[in-house]
Every structure is written in C-alpha cells, then in structure tokens.
C-alpha cells in the first residue's frame, strides 16, 4: 500500500526529473522502440545508471533476460524514491529504445508496475 501510494505521487513529477551522464544516441536507437513485460530478476541501484533485469518470454515461449538502463539513483532519491521501491519478482512493463549493438539492452522511457508509472524517463528518454 505504501509503495503504491509513493508510485502514484512521485509518478506525477518524475518524468521531468531523471538525469544521468552520457549520450543516449551513441548507445541507443530512438527509431527502434520496444516494449517488454516480465518479472524483475535483478536490480542494480547504482551509479552512473540504475539497471533492471527482466525475464521476457517471446512469441515462441522462449525466455530471455533483458537489461534495462535507467537514469542515476540520486535524482530519484531526491524525489523520494528508495532502493526498495521495486522488488525482485515484481512484474513490470518497460517502454524504451533498443541498443544499437543488437544486445538485449533497452533504455527505458517509462516503467509501469501494476499499471502505475514508476521510474519514468531515463538516461536518454524524453519522459511523458
């Protein structure tokens, strides 16, 4: 309940607040949008970027692990997030851009948890 409330409140303003440190276009291709849904398998609440890892099942039933690159923790901390805001096992939906090098890596623009916007935007996203 507490977490849901925090998501609601912070989600309103988070989109204008995340930041990090490198050039989005060098790593990601905005012309390759992608949406992934699956359970979180690992959370790295670290600088210079938060990384989330998801198990995602494709149309054939094959499961692959994806890395999701986010902004840095400090901006989120200043907005009231904590490293415990998301837990391993939470099912999330990520909307973002695919890495240029073809690896299972996405720069997230929005992250939805139980239908609520969570970490929005990221190191290169526009936010909403």
């Amino acid at each position: 309940m507490r977490r849901t409330m925090l998501v609601w409140l912070v989600g309103l303003v988070l989109a204008s607040s995340v930041q990090a440190h490198h050039n989005f276009l060098a790593e990601f291709d905005p012309a390759k949008p992608i949406t992934l849904t699956g359970p979180v398998t690992k959370i790295e609440w670290t600088n210079p970027h938060i990384f989330l890892y998801l198990d995602v099942e494709d149309d054939t039933g094959k499961v692959a692990n994806w890395a999701i690159e986010m902004g840095n923790p400090n901006s989120l901390i200043r907005l009231g997030w904590t490293r415990k805001a998301m837990q391993v096992g939470d099912v999330i939906t990520v909307d973002g851009s695919l890495a240029r090098d073809g690896s299972n890596l996405v720069n997230a623009r929005t992250v939805l948890l139980a239908g609520k916007q969570m970490f929005a935007g990221s190191s290169g996203g526009k936010g909403k």
Binding site: V13, V18, H21, N23, A26, T46, R78, L79, G121
Partner: protein, 285 residues
Amino acid sequence: MHALARLVAVTAGIIVCVGVPLPAQWRVQTKGVPMTPAGTPNLEAPAPKLADGTPDLSGLWDAEKRPCDEAKTPLGCIDAVRGVPVGFGNLGADLPASDPNDPTPFQPWARTLVAQRTADFGKDSPHARCLPQASPSAWATFDMQKIVHTVDSVTILQEFMGQYRQIFLDGRPLPTDPEPTFKGYSVGKWEGDTLVVETIGYKENWLDGQGRPLTEQARTIERIRRVNYGTLEVGMTIDDPKAYTKPWKTLTIRLALVLNTDLLEYICNENEKSVQHMVGKGVVK
C-alpha cells in the same frame, strides 16, 4: 533556475502530508536563508558576505537547464529528461559546430575533430567514460556542485564523481610549468563584486559535449559573480591558441542555489557498463 528546488519542496510537502516515510535528505532544511515577509526563501536578497566584505560564493548550486529538443540537438537529448544544462553541449553558442553561424574561432583541425565527434554521437566523451570535466565545462553540468568559500580559497565539490577543484585566493602566482591536470591550476582575485579566476595547466580534454578541444596550451579566465542570494553567473574566456585562432568568450552560465538537500555520493565507476555498447554511428546494426 529554481525549478528543482520548487519541485523537491512541493513533492516533499505532498508526501509528508500523506505520511510516507522519506529519505533523510528530505528532512534537511538549509539554515540562514533570508526569508520574505510571506515566509518563503528570498532568493532575490543580496549575496551574503565573508568576514572581509567580499561576496560569499558558498552554497549548493545547480546549472540552469533548458528543455531538450531532439530535432535541434545534434547529439540527442543527453540524459536530458530534466533538461540540458545550458552550454553543456556547446559552451560557445548552443549551435552545432557545423552551423555556419557558430562563432567559435576553430583552428581547422579542431573544427574537423568536433565534426567527427559529433558524427560519432560523442561516444568517446570523457564524461561518458567517467573521467572529469575540465573546469570551464564543469559549470554547465547535469549534477549539483557545492562551493565552500573562505577568504583564502574557493573549493568546488562536484557531486558527479566526487571531484574537487581548488581556486587559490591567497595572492600566490600561477606556477611557471604546472603538471597538467583535469582541473588545471587556478588563482583568483576580486574586481569589485566579481571573482576573476585565471587557470593554466590543463590536461588535454573535451571542452564541452560536442567535443570542442581544450589543450595544454589553454589559459582560461572565469568571471564569477553571485548576482543575488540565489543566483550565480559565470562567464569565461578561452585562450587556447593550439585549438582556436583567437580567444573567445563562452556563454554565460547561470546556476541556481538549491535548498534543502545535500550532495549525494556519485561514484561513476561503481557500475559503468554503458561504454561497451556505445557504437556511435559507424557500426549501427
């Protein structure tokens, strides 16, 4: 630009009202801030003074940001959901280096180099690789910085990578042959209410996000003025004959005082794993 301070304050207020526990930083209240009759921080109040009567530059500062427009930003919206620090991409004019209106007096090799770095989406940027920014560009950065000012020195603590820079105000001369460093060797003196800082001894580096070069021949002049309690302005002259045909002035960088938070630890190499994926434009799959 007081947007962040307002944002934090408003958000903190909302969350406090509903009783959600907050991190310790949210309970911090900056002390000694002049207040308006209405009881709000008066950021337009005069700059505070040190014991010797010179302006006190101390405080936690955040560079002015502007909204990022991908169509007009050659390097894309670099980590820019909160906005791009004015001057981060281009300390010269907020124009692409290839723009004929860009007034930067490049040496030919420097213009070619910047064009190459732009075409590569800045993939080799030292900033992305967790290396320090040179002193001039460090004013126009994404992250906050804290100035600790005494009569004899100014120390700038950058949140990004825990960097520090020293500016000596004790009357010492510049060294004749300093060991090159990322921050250079800086001395300052007052001209009225403006601190004029001269720096030499730079290690070769990128001057800004588009990759304008800064070489070991560089000598920079920064003019730092605390316009009022809540605003700092920094104008710079870049004198680097190896890279530029004549000295040139940068944009004036404005920074806003940030209240009710502290520097947070930011160790860039803690978990840097993006660089291996930075392929730039050359090898797009």
